[in-house]
């Protein structure tokens, strides 16, 4: 009883004095305050309310302690300094003013550190992004570990935001205008040694091998020891913050000291941004504005514009779309099918073509033993070269060493026969898209593989159940649809039939995640999800070409809507033959809804050898030398021969754009309606990461939410009048159009 009372009293007093610091703590070592961050509620540290409150409290205590001569800020969380601001804090805000206020609070805290009477050293190990990096650059000195996990970036632009806690003001001072713009407008990741070269950090330390405890735990201790040494030096003035500037730096500084030159820089950067974004993304322009305000009109104005713009941006549909994509991507990097019974440790790829070799590359890259099988030595040599080139390019860019390249390549085994297949855990076939060939290899493979081995087909349109029909064990058959080029495209579409076992799916997802893919799992059917959305869009594109809109105009209309690649270029990239194949196959499966342009246009192109980029000619003529591609006059002639009259009522520029988009979106909605798609999140991720649906719109379902299903249905009805059932809105669209409160995303 007594002790209970004691506890009660203690608890009470603790509560009153707000001694419940959970995220930030500190100790004083030799006159250096070592401030340690660790959010116990999460795997990563983010700038939450609690963290900021704890930090302010600690800072005030440190500043109030006259024995403290300098301070170190360090995270004790493995692999993470501070990953950034907490997105949820922004999402709950109802107005731009509310978000601006958050920005101002951040600005104030960091300004206090910058103007602190004692020097601050940021000791960075692991992720240091967004608000985390803004925190670090408010400190006077930065030490970073060269651990692979140490990555610095200001990725706000990718979320449609700007660095809102002083980043737009401090970065230009630290890196110079051009580099600062580059870092903030691309949001690119910077590793420690690069950061040192750029002047973003002062000092780097190498990661440590095993000692008498966990290496990362020891590394953080070591980082702290080094940072404390630096902090002591700063206090005693034996270490200086200023670094020596090279000649180039001095010249650049002098040149950028001229206002006229600076104006030219702003102009050039703005032009570049407009060219790349077509004005569809407000964040980059806001960043330029905030930087310009600070540099030209002084810090007060700069910080003000930064905070105001931050608030405005947070309320834009573009930012919502990009944040949605970011969160969707995180969701699609998880395995929702549980841990597979056995891990895939060795894998075989059939067919060493573009896709097969690409799949092999992303597999060996993660240290999985991979057999690459082809039928000819020439094919095999080409595939092997593709893998080598992919890895060598990484070595050239210094993201891996040549030694790592060689080690990675040693996981690849090229061969012409089925030897060793008795030991593989998974086979992915990437042979020619022909059902009888697929059946043939499936039977050959099943004769040699062990019972647990999974057979995956990398097909872009053939229904998996038709492929599995030839299998003795359809529960082990699954579709794994990769996108070209495999090492660059993030998406993997996994297709399950009603016979595919859950463990097979879990295994395929695990392999895809290991390969670094963002994964959607969809139901079986002709074209699955992605190809099914692409086909009507392409067919519509051909009709538009037939109606006399030139390939260049069509490209500019689609990129102007936000697609990264125009439809004409897309046809060339995918391959005219592949496009014809898909259009015809799916046309047969879905009937007149998939009509529109005449497939014979593509077939005539193929006859003339215009197979797209791979053959040097398609909609355009490609040559290695010329950067600016010319329209292929041969294709123009074909289009003339197949000329259609454009109905004037639905052929304005905007209507052309919406005809393409509405067919895409309607088909996506149908996939959700029919259960091919499990949820709108996967639909959005698949469309953006696999097909290049405009990221600023966030995917077809996010687009319906923000644009309004009713508005789209109205447009479609007009198109339906002109062209018929290709534009008939599906039932799901009609339901959402009827009730505007219905949204695909909460």
């Amino acid at each position: 009883n007594n002790s209970f009372n004691m506890n009660g009293i203690l608890l009470g007093s603790v509560g009153v004095n707000r001694q419940t610091r959970t995220h930030v703590n500190y100790e004083v070592k030799d006159n250096v305050a070592v401030i340690r961050i660790n959010d116990p509620t999460s795997k990563v540290n983010t700038l939450t309310r609690q963290l900021q409150d704890d930090m302010m409290e600690v800072l005030n205590e440190v500043w109030g302690n006259s024995a403290v001569k300098s301070a170190v800020i360090i995270s004790t969380k493995p692999g993470c300094f501070i990953a950034g601001a907490n997105i949820d804090m922004i999402k709950v805000c109802k107005s731009a003013e509310e978000v601006s206020k958050l920005s101002k609070e951040g600005q104030m805290m960091f300004e206090k550190i910058e103007k602190s009477p004692i020097p601050f050293v940021a000791a960075v190990n692991g992720t240091c992004m967004g608000g985390g990096l803004e925190f670090a650059i408010a400190c006077h000195y930065r030490v970073a570990t060269k651990s692979k996990k140490t990555v610095m970036a200001l990725p706000e632009v990718m979320l449609g935001l700007l660095p809102g806690a002083g980043g737009t003001q401090r970065m230009p001072k630290m890196l110079g205008l051009p580099t600062a713009f580059d870092v903030m407008l691309t949001g690119r990741s910077i590793r420690a040694d690069k950061a040192k070269k750029m002047g973003l950090v002062h000092h780097v330390i190498d990661p440590l091998g095993p000692g008498v405890k966990d290496p990362e735990e020891r590394l953080i201790e070591y980082l702290e020891e080094v940072a404390v040494g630096v902090a002591k030096g700063l206090a005693k003035k034996t270490v200086t913050v200023e670094k020596k500037k090279g000649l180039m730096q001095k010249v650049q500084d002098a040149v950028l000291g001229i206002p006229l030159v600076r104006n030219q820089v702003y102009k050039t950067v703005t032009q570049k941004v407009m060219k790349q974004t077509k004005g569809l993304y407000p964040a980059p322009l806001s960043i330029i504005e905030a930087v310009q305000a600070g540099v030209e009109k002084g810090p007060a104005e700069g910080y003000h514009v930064e905070a105001v713009n931050f608030g405005k941006l947070a309320m834009t549909p573009e930012s919502r779309a990009l944040i949605g994509l970011y969160q969707g991507q995180v969701a699609c990097k998880k395995n929702n099918f549980g841990k597979p019974e056995r891990e895939v440790k060795s894998l075989a790829v059939l067919g060493a073509g573009l896709m097969g070799a690409g799949i092999a590359q992303v597999t060996v890259d993660k240290g999985v033993a991979t057999i690459l099988k082809d039928t000819t030595t020439e094919g095999l040599a080409r595939g092997h070269d593709q893998v080598y080139k992919g890895l060598n390019d990484k070595a050239k860019k210094k993201s891996i060493t040549t030694f790592e390249r060689d080690m990675t390549l040693s996981f690849l085994k090229g061969q012409l026969d089925y030897s060793g297949f008795e030991k593989v855990d998974m086979v992915i076939e990437a042979v020619f898209e022909d059902l009888s060939i697929k059946h043939k290899v499936l039977k050959e493979v099943e004769a040699v593989i062990p019972p647990h081995c999974i057979f995956a087909s990398n097909t872009s349109a053939l229904p998996i159940r038709e492929i599995a029909a030839a299998s003795k064990r359809p529960e082990k058959v699954i579709g794994m649809h990769y996108f070209s080029p495999v090492d660059k495209m993030q998406l993997l579409e996994i297709i399950t039939t009603d016979k595919t076992s859950k463990d097979t799916t879990a295994s395929a997802v695990a392999v895809g995640l290991k390969q670094g893919k963002v994964i959607i799992v969809v139901g079986d059917g002709p074209g699955f999800y992605t190809t099914r959305c692409l086909a009507p869009t392409l067919v519509e594109g051909i009709r538009i070409l037939q109606e006399g809109v030139g390939p260049k105009k069509l490209d500019s209309l689609t990129t102007g809507f936000g697609f990264p690649v125009g439809v004409s270029t897309l046809i060339d990239e995918v391959g005219v033959d592949v496009a014809a194949h898909v259009a015809e196959d799916l046309g047969k499966a879905f009937g007149s809804r998939f009509g529109g342009g005449n497939v014979d246009v593509l077939k005539t192109m193929i006859q003339k050898g215009f197979k797209g980029r791979k053959s040097g000619k398609g909609c355009y003529v490609y040559s290695a030398k010329k950067k600016d591609k010319q329209v292929n006059s041969g294709t123009e002639e074909i289009l003339k021969a197949f000329k259609l009259t454009a109905p004037p009522a639905v052929s304005g520029d905007e209507d052309v754009q919406y005809r393409l988009v509405s067919r895409f979106v309607n088909e996506a909605a149908l996939c959700l309606q029919e259960g091919i798609l499990a949820d709108p999140v996967q639909g959005d991720i698949g469309a953006v990461f696999g097909l290049g649906f405009p990221p600023c719109l966030g995917g077809p379902f996010r687009f319906l939410d923000s644009f309004g299903a009713d508005k789209l249905v109205q447009k479609m009805k007009r198109y339906e009048d002109a062209y018929g059932n290709q534009f008939t809105p599906c039932q799901l669209l009609l339901d959402y159009a009827k009730d505007p409160s219905k949204k695909f995303h909460k």
């Binding site: 990661p207 091998g209 095993p210 000692g211 008498v212 405890k213 020891r218 630096v230 030694f403």
Partner: protein, 431 residues
């Protein structure tokens, strides 16, 4: 990982008394010698590697009065190769007057090259292929091969093949300033692109070895070496006459300093916060060593008094357990001292349960050797470290120590670039 010393041992009997195995010939060290170890760029500066190797081989013959024709095989280690004498074993042996019927080959395994030479020799004797094998190692750091750049080499090779004057001129026309930048021998490891000193500094940091500890250990090494030198214990040295210069008979890198002086040095590799300095690292050294390894019966038959039984081994702890020996049974330890930080990190690792469990797959720590049995006559830090010559120096020294101190078992361990290590159990022969 680079400096973690994994140590090898072959199986032997459960008997605690001897390393000998039934049915396998006993292999003995008859004699071991070395040239004085000199800092690079000093008295040996104008020589070549095979000169030093020849000196060690001749010294071995002089000291043992061994008939040259009775040597069945010669194995020599070297690390930085002189391209003119890529099989330095053969060049040195012929120069030392060995029979041209005695085959000789060169091995390379970084700092344990002569350990590998001895291991090869022990294998040849144990398997009955040979009765007497000379093993050794040489390193010559006063001169290293500095190459033309790859571009320049390519051009020069093409120039060789060019037939016409025009073709030659056009090739010469492609000469650019950048072609003339020379290529230094790799100071960093090929696979990790890391320099040894850098790696040693990280190793010391990983094990939390302080600068003070490292300086103290280096000082200990120099003090002990000086004492051994003054007391005349370094009897493995044979004089070396440098043409046109004096006879060299002493190591010249043994220089006990003070802690105060050592503490003034700046870190040599990781700046400014590293702990490895010039004073607590081994220095660039010229030198050669050689040992005579024989079957026990042949040595006794020829009237020699062998010094020690040799048993090259892998992985100390496994072997100690298998043989029923413990660290306590070892009377003399000779560990290679590349860097003070590395030795101390190795000792810390042997004392650590965490390391044993997480990095060696063992249940508990191995235990570290007691310092009163450890490198008592100095080590590579003070005596010098001609990479490929150090292994024989270690083995000969442990044999001499066992004799002097009256011990039975000695343990030699050395680490090498590329994350490799070597160890050898040595047992004193009955006198």
């Amino acid at each position: 990982y680079v400096f973690t010393t994994f140590i090898k041992l072959s199986e032997f009997t459960k008997s605690k008394k001897t390393l000998s195995k039934p049915g396998v010939r006993n292999v003995v060290l008859v004699e071991g010698v070395r040239t004085p170890f000199l800092q690079a760029g000093t008295t040996y500066a104008d020589l070549m590697a095979h000169d030093l190797a020849r000196g060690a081989l001749q010294g071995l013959l002089n000291r043992t009065a061994f008939p040259k024709e009775a040597v069945d095989y010669i194995v020599y280690g070297t690390v930085i190769q002189e391209v003119k004498t890529s099989n330095v074993a053969r060049e040195a042996a012929l120069g030392a007057g060995f029979s041209d019927k005695t085959p000789a080959h060169t091995v390379t395994m970084a700092c344990i090259s002569s350990n590998q030479a001895m291991t090869t020799a022990v294998g040849l004797v144990a398997s009955g292929q040979c009765d007497a094998v000379v093993a050794g190692g040489v390193e010559f750091m006063s001169d290293v091969p500095i190459r033309h750049s790859r571009k320049m080499r390519k051009m020069m090779l093409s120039l060789n093949r060019a037939r016409t004057l025009g073709a030659r001129l056009s090739l010469l026309g492609s000469l650019r300033l950048s072609h003339l930048v020379p290529e230094l021998p790799a100071v960093s490891e090929f696979s990790t692109a890391e320099m040894m000193g850098h790696s040693a500094d990280r190793l010391a940091a990983a094990f939390g070895i302080s600068r003070l500890d490292q300086d103290e250990f280096a000082l200990r090494s120099h003090v002990l070496a000086k004492k051994a030198q003054d007391e005349g214990l370094l009897t493995d040295i044979v004089d070396f006459k440098v043409p046109g210069k004096d006879i060299v008979s002493k190591d010249n890198g043994i220089r006990p300093s003070t802690m105060e002086q050592m503490s003034k040095l700046k870190p040599a590799f990781i700046k400014p916060h590293g702990t490895v300095t010039a004073a607590n690292s081994s220095y660039l050294t010229d030198g050669a060593s050689a040992v005579l390894i024989m079957s026990e019966e042949k040595a006794l038959a020829m009237g020699y008094k062998p010094k020690a039984y040799l048993s090259p081994t892998y992985a100390i702890p496994k072997v100690l357990e298998r043989s029923g020996l413990t660290l306590a049974d070892i009377d003399a330890f000779e560990f290679h001292e590349a860097f003070a930080g590395q030795v101390l990190a190795n000792l810390t690792a042997m004392e650590s349960d965490w390391f044993a469990q997480n990095c060696m797959g063992r249940k508990a720590k191995v235990g570290a050797p007691p310092m009163e049995k450890f490198n008592l006559w100095g080590g590579s830090l003070s005596l010098g470290h001609p990479f490929a010559a150090t292994g024989c120096r270690l083995v000969t020294m442990v044999a001499h120590r066992l004799k002097k101190e009256g011990g039975q078992y000695g343990l030699v361990a050395a680490c090498a670039a590329g994350g490799q290590g070597h160890a050898m159990l040595v047992e004193a022969c009955p006198q």
